[in-house]
């Protein structure tokens, strides 16, 4: 952890702000009135406030707030489930299995996660060490994973290494043999759905002294990871890349994170044949308030098209049951997770929802080092203390528990006793038709 010698006054200031923030999250999520200017069509005010409620008490809200879908008029918001008539629901005490395997191959270590989702890569520097810790603690508690992103592996995280994925991205920031060796799963980030064709980037404001130290770069200089990997220009290079990681950590499972170009199905099958255990499709609705406008939401295929395309193609190649398909990029709720799985994914990765649970309001000030009002997307030594890791871990775990409860309910209403049975059941989905943000 970052140690910062606080003066007495600073300690009091932090304490005051933390108290006020926590009061505010509770106040607004329980209040009938909505705060002004909260949310957008994708992440509605209702959805943010419901997520805060879930983070508080681990249950879906019962106050009438719409916690399941947003009002974007597209994507998951246009899909609903064809639930069975109530008489045909499974009994409330039916055991429902939410676990999914991350290695479906015959060989290699078997890793199942208890929930059909894990946390996506967010780098040290893009978020604070406190947020990374909170996510890692929650992953451990809930039997799933989180991911380092591309900014190094803060030593405080090593304690949670069995629940942390090491990301190897195009800038190789912070990637060292030990960080590869810690990880049960190594994720190659070939591309990111929010900005396909671009590497990761961290603007100068956020490349603080500690961040630069972790990445061994120069402070206050914007960091741009290249695109693509300059060592990987073909599937044969990719296989070599996988072989490299397997040399350093033979036990590691391999995840390949790609965006969703029109030939994403080809990419998926190529990744599988080159040794991937997980193919991670990152669609374009997703995160990062820092992605440049020109890339954001303008490139790549919507995730709800990419998932079935990949799923069907892997089926036709007879390898669907050898590889885990994970979807991400705009997965905001338990309902989104269920829809992605019904479209053909095995599970999902979530990112923004983790942050919302610990106070994010989607104000999109992420790219500025001291712009996050809640102390999340910053490494400012004072500001980052607004989010104590234990508090954050509790909030994220609660949200995961609420998701699990909702997923079980969804499955029960569909007459399914395992999340694995839902995979690829597009027949259980319906198109909701045009609705608009009223």
């Amino acid at each position: 952890m970052v140690e910062y010698k606080k003066t007495d006054n600073e300690a009091l200031v932090v304490e005051k702000h933390v108290t006020n923030l926590h009061d505010g999250f509770a106040y607004w999520s329980h209040n009938e009135k909505e705060p002004p200017a909260l949310g957008d069509a994708r992440w509605t005010a209702d959805m943010i406030l419901s997520t805060w409620l879930m983070a508080e008490n681990g249950k879906a809200p019962t106050n009438g707030k719409e916690y399941r879908t947003g009002l974007s008029g597209g994507g998951f918001d246009q899909l609903g489930f064809k639930f069975l008539p109530e008489a045909e629901w499974l009994a409330a005490d039916t055991e429902i299995d939410l676990s999914i395997p991350l290695n479906k191959r015959e060989e290699g270590r078997k890793i199942d996660i208890k929930l059909p989702f894990y946390g996506g890569g967010m780098s040290y520097g893009s978020i604070s060490e406190q947020v990374m810790l909170a996510r890692a603690m929650a992953a451990k508690k809930m039997g799933t994973f989180t991911c380092t992103g591309e900014g190094g592996y803060p030593p405080s995280l090593v304690e949670y290494k069995d629940h942390i994925i090491t990301q190897v991205a195009t800038g190789m920031f912070g990637v060292r043999e030990e960080t590869i060796q810690y990880a049960p799963i190594v994720e190659f980030k070939y591309a990111q759905g929010a900005k396909p064709g671009l590497g990761g980037h961290l603007l100068g404001d956020k490349a603080t002294w500690v961040v630069a130290q972790m990445r061994e770069s120069v402070p206050w200089v914007s960091l741009f990871s290249p695109f693509p990997f300059h060592s990987v220009y073909s599937v044969e290079d990719h296989r070599k890349h996988v072989d490299w990681i397997k040399t350093v950590n033979p036990e590691a499972l391999i995840s390949v994170k790609v965006s969703t170009p029109t030939d994403v199905d080809m990419v998926a099958v190529g990744s599988y044949f080159a040794g991937a255990n997980i193919v991670h499709l990152d669609g374009s609705y997703g995160g990062t308030g820092a992605a440049p406008e020109i890339a954001k939401k303008n490139i790549a295929m919507p995730i709800e098209f990419a998932i079935p395309k990949v799923h069907r193609y892997l089926e036709s190649e007879n390898v669907r049951d050898q590889v885990t398909v994970i979807a991400s990029g705009g997965v905001r709720t338990a309902y989104d997770i269920a829809k992605a799985i019904a479209l053909g994914a095995d599970g999902c990765v979530i990112g923004t929802a983790d942050l919302v649970a610990i106070g994010c309001t989607r104000c999109s000030n992420c790219e500025r080092g001291r712009g996050c009002p809640f102390g999340l997307t910053t490494t400012d030594p004072l500001l980052s203390q607004l989010m104590p890791p234990e508090w954050g871990a509790e909030r994220i775990s609660n949200m995961y528990a609420a998701y699990a409860e909702q997923l079980r309910a969804i499955l029960r209403m569909l007459g399914l006793s395992s999340i694995r049975e839902l995979r690829g059941r597009r027949d259980l989905l319906k198109y909701l038709g045009m609705r608009s943000a009223a």
Partner: protein, 878 residues
């Protein structure tokens, strides 16, 4: 009529005539199956002497990890008549129509429809094959039966073809070529592409050129079709790595053909659709839906139909761009500008490397068999070229190579050397092409000219048609019954022994060399084993005047002597040296300093049984000194040792594969040869010494460590390196040196790279390169670290930078780099005095070296002041 109008009119007619080739109802271009592959492994060789295919076996076997067994093929040009039981006349004058029959019942129909009515068939050769394809492990599709028809177009059919299409102005050869081309196209459309079932297709149809391919690895093709002893002047071999489809067809394997050429390809292009459209507008409809076929169709169109000189064909495919374009003479810029404008949509865009085997005609209508290697302008696929030549006059034998990896070339040379005394295990020169370079064009052509007296010559030219002469005033070694004695100068230590030898070598003939090496072998049998091994290592590593001896020949003899010494270690190990080979039980070190010689043969290039994993086990068993020998493309050597491997020393002999030293964190590695691609990726600490060149993305994402490279680095060295790597490169780099370098302040613990821009000439003298750095994008987007470049003549210009700035070398800079240059001198004999001597004059360091540092990229001055305050209060990470 001008030549130009004549060509225009005839090209128009030829292309129009192909409109008839389309099946009725037009051609539905099914794109659902396109671009279904990425990487591949390729090798090509061209020799003034015909060489048998078996010499490609080892090279292809060692590159299997670049394919997946779903497509392999070979092409041969410049064959011998007797192998097909035809006369020389038939071999040279007839088209070799090689047809693959997937369905043996199709043969009668194909012959009745497309062979007998069209051609005079002079000879039918049923290609031999193995009786049972399942004898080849991993082969799950039966390869096609192959029949080669030696044919000439029937006179009346040809006359009709000419009349129907107004081809009066085509030469006889052009007319018959087009006749063959269109006939094959029809055959393929009926029997392969458009049918649901695939029954037969044309493998090749040129004169004196043969293609064979199947679903398997490239080396499987040689085995299955029993080509081991088939001789040819030009060979290419290919492993394919298709990623899509459960059913593969041999038609999808490389090489693909135009008419007189066969092409293999490593990479893929992004604009396959656009090039397909370009071809469709010219009535050319590729049938196999891969970008490779499209590429060869473009080549055939430009060379055969448009009659572009090869230089223009290459320019149209791999345009000269950026700074290189501006360096071209104005007249060339004018032509190239037009070529680029015309071929905007037919120029393959993306990572690719082409090898092309051609059966061509020269100006005097003489036969030429050619191997051409072209790399894309961005150099995104690995490629290496090599050359070896021996003998004079009628005795002269030359061989050229182009391949994905140096280790594959070495494997072919090894194989040749074992059975043919005219070859030896090391090439005279290895080099990487700089795509789109203004100096050589980034493409090299090895042309075998067959003279009338049967004497053939191999000529190496660059893209511009300039002959590349690799000086060889020295004679190569030819075994001729030397009887070696043991004659070795006395010397108390290895340094003096080496110095004495180097002083003698200029007067040596091969007999003396063999005697001295025999002396070293003897010495290595006794107490002075370490001294002898070190001395022969120095002979292999260092550059010195070799007098009458060819350097590569001498090295090859050293290789053999070195092998003998290690063999003696195996049979008589000592406390100092022990031996370990694949399959041996795990040894225990006799003492901490014991050096373990590890014979790499038998270990896989990657995976559980790999050499790199064995190294982990040996280190765990307690060994601190490893000497890896007979390394043949093994990957990841020294990767996975984990944090803090200080104290471990690994010497690497042979041809190591990619990713050597990646993640190195404390250990020392010494490569006694060239390295390949991705060396020292994410290196953290320790030391890497390479007595040769290194390949692409050297030190990608490195954090620290010391590296000394005797030769050049290929593209993008030190990309995204951070922390404090300290690097000396004595040669130069292709492009993008230190892109996004972020290695702090070198004067304050950060990193740097010294670029000396020097080479050793044939006489072992250190000489400056024409320019220290030929490319652009130097220090592009870098925010930290520095480049110290030896540039006394001030040849580097501002337009080579992209964000950096030149400043004068300070005393502090010199104090910083001087020790590294000192170590560089100790390792390679690159003397600091020589570096500071320019045109015979000893200059001050600041007159010789320039510093390149990041330009004004720091926009956050106010923040920095704040940080200074922050720093003083911070304790840091724990």
């Amino acid at each position: 009529m001008s030549q130009r109008t004549l060509i225009e009119r005839n090209v128009g007619r030829v292309l129009a005539s192909r409109g008839n080739l389309q099946p009725k109802g037009g051609f539905a271009l099914d794109r659902s199956d396109e671009a279904a592959e990425g990487g591949c492994g390729v090798i090509g060789m061209a020799s003034s002497e015909r060489v048998p295919a078996k010499h490609m076996l080892r090279a292809l076997a060692q590159m299997r990890n670049r394919g997946n067994g779903k497509g392999g093929g070979i092409a041969a040009a410049g064959l011998t008549a007797k192998q097909f039981a035809v006369s020389d006349k038939v071999l040279h004058e007839d088209y070799l129509l090689a047809i693959a029959y997937l369905d043996s019942k199709a043969r009668k129909e194909v012959e009745a429809e497309y062979v007998e009515p069209m051609f005079e068939v002079d000879h039918v050769y049923e290609h031999p094959q193995m009786a049972d394809f399942s004898e080849i492990e991993g082969l799950d599709v039966r390869p096609p039966d192959v029949v080669i028809y030696f044919v000439r177009a029937q006179a009346e059919k040809l006359a009709l073809f000419k009349a129907e299409n107004s081809f009066e102005e085509l030469s006889a050869r052009e007319l018959e070529d087009e006749f063959v081309y269109q006939n094959s196209y029809r055959l393929n459309t009926s029997y392969y592409a458009s049918l649901g079932e695939k029954r037969a297709f044309v493998l090749s149809h040129a004169k004196n050129l043969l293609v064979l391919k199947m679903v398997g690895y490239g080396d499987d093709v040689i085995r299955y079709y029993q080509l081991e002893d088939l001789e040819a002047h030009v060979w290419i071999g290919h492993h394919r790595y298709p990623t899509k489809g459960r059913v593969w067809h041999p038609g999808g394997a490389h090489p693909f053909i135009g008419l007189n050429e066969a092409l293999v390809h490593n990479g893929d292009f992004a604009n396959h659709a656009s090039i397909s459209e370009y071809l469709a507008q010219r009535n050319i409809y590729p049938l196999y839906l891969t970008d490779t076929e499209v590429a060869v169709q473009v080549f055939d169109l430009l060379y055969r139909n448009y009659r572009y000189p090869l230089e223009y064909v290459i320019e149209a495919m791999a345009p000269t761009t950026e700074r290189d374009f501006t360096q071209l003479p104005e007249s060339k810029q004018a032509v190239y500008g037009r070529l680029q404008a015309s071929h905007m949509h037919s120029s393959p865009d993306g990572p690719w490397f082409f090898l092309i085997a051609q059966s061509d005609k020269g100006k005097q209508d003489e036969d030429i068999y050619r191997l051409t290697g072209i790399t894309d302008t961005s150099m995104l696929r690995p490629q290496v070229f090599a050359w070896q030549e021996s003998g004079q006059g009628d005795e002269k034998v030359s061989i050229g190579f182009a391949a994905s990896e140096k280790q594959a070339i070495d494997a072919a040379l090894d194989s040749l050397a074992e059975s043919d005394g005219r070859f030896w295990s090391r090439a005279d020169r290895y080099w990487n092409a700089r795509g789109g370079s203004h100096t050589d064009g980034g493409a090299f052509l090895f042309s075998v000219h067959e003279g009338e007296n049967g004497k053939t010559e191999l000529i190496l030219t660059d893209k511009f048609g300039e002959q590349v002469r690799i000086p060889s005033h020295t004679a190569a070694f030819r075994a001729n019954g030397y009887k070696a004695e043991t004659e070795l100068p006395e010397a108390p230590d290895v340094e003096q022994l080496f110095n004495k030898l180097v002083a003698q070598i200029p007067d040596w003939d091969y007999h003396d060399a063999l005697n001295a090496l025999e002396g070293l072998i003897e010495l290595a049998k006794g107490e002075q084993r370490a001294k002898a091994i070190e001395a022969i290592t120095l002979l292999m590593d260092r550059r010195y005047a070799t007098g009458k001896l060819r350097r590569s020949s001498l090295l090859s003899l050293c290789d053999k002597a070195f092998d003998q010494m290690l063999e003696n270690v195996r049979s008589a190990p000592s406390d100092e040296f022990a031996h370990h080979a694949f399959g041996d039980i795990m040894p225990k070190p006799a003492n901490e300093q014991q050096c373990l010689v590890v014979d790499a043969r038998g270990y896989e290039p990657q995976g559980e049984e790999s050499l790199s994993r064995e190294i982990h086990r040996l280190v765990a068993a307690g060994f601190c000194r490893l000497m890896l020998t007979h390394v043949r493309g093994h990957r990841f050597i020294g990767a996975g040792l984990g944090p803090d491997s200080a104290g471990l020393v690994i010497d690497v002999y042979g041809s190591p594969g990619d990713y050597l030293g990646s993640g190195l964190d404390g250990a020392h590695m010494i490569v006694h040869n060239n390295g390949q691609d991705q060396l020292a990726q994410i290196m953290k600490a320790g030391r890497l010494v390479v007595h040769g060149d290194v390949g692409q993305t050297f030190l990608y994402g490195a954090k620290g460590g010391e590296c000394y490279i005797r030769g050049n680095a290929a593209g993008r060295p030190l990309i995204n390196a951070v922390g404090k790597p300290r690097v000396v490169i004595n040669g130069t780099c292709l492009d993008y040196l230190a892109e996004s370098f972020m290695a702090g302040d070198p004067l304050n613990g950060g990193g740097f790279v010294i670029l000396n821009g020097m080479r050793f000439d044939e006489a072992g003298e250190l000489t400056p390169l024409q320019e220290p750095y030929p490319g652009g994008n130097l220090f592009s987007l870098a925010s930290g670290g520095a480049i110290y470049v030896r540039d006394p003549m001030g040849k580097l210009t501002d337009d080579q930078l992209n964000g950096g700035e030149y400043i004068e070398l300070s005393a502090a800079d010199w104090e910083l780099i001087r020790p590294y240059l000192g170590e560089n001198e100790r390792l390679f004999g690159v003397s600091v005095e020589r570096l500071l001597t320019v045109n015979g004059q000893r200059l001050a360091p600041e007159q010789v070296y320039r510093k390149i540092q990041p330009g004004r990229v720091r926009a956050l001055q106010a923040e920095e002041a704040w940080v200074k305050k922050e720093k003083t209060q911070r304790v840091g990470f724990h």
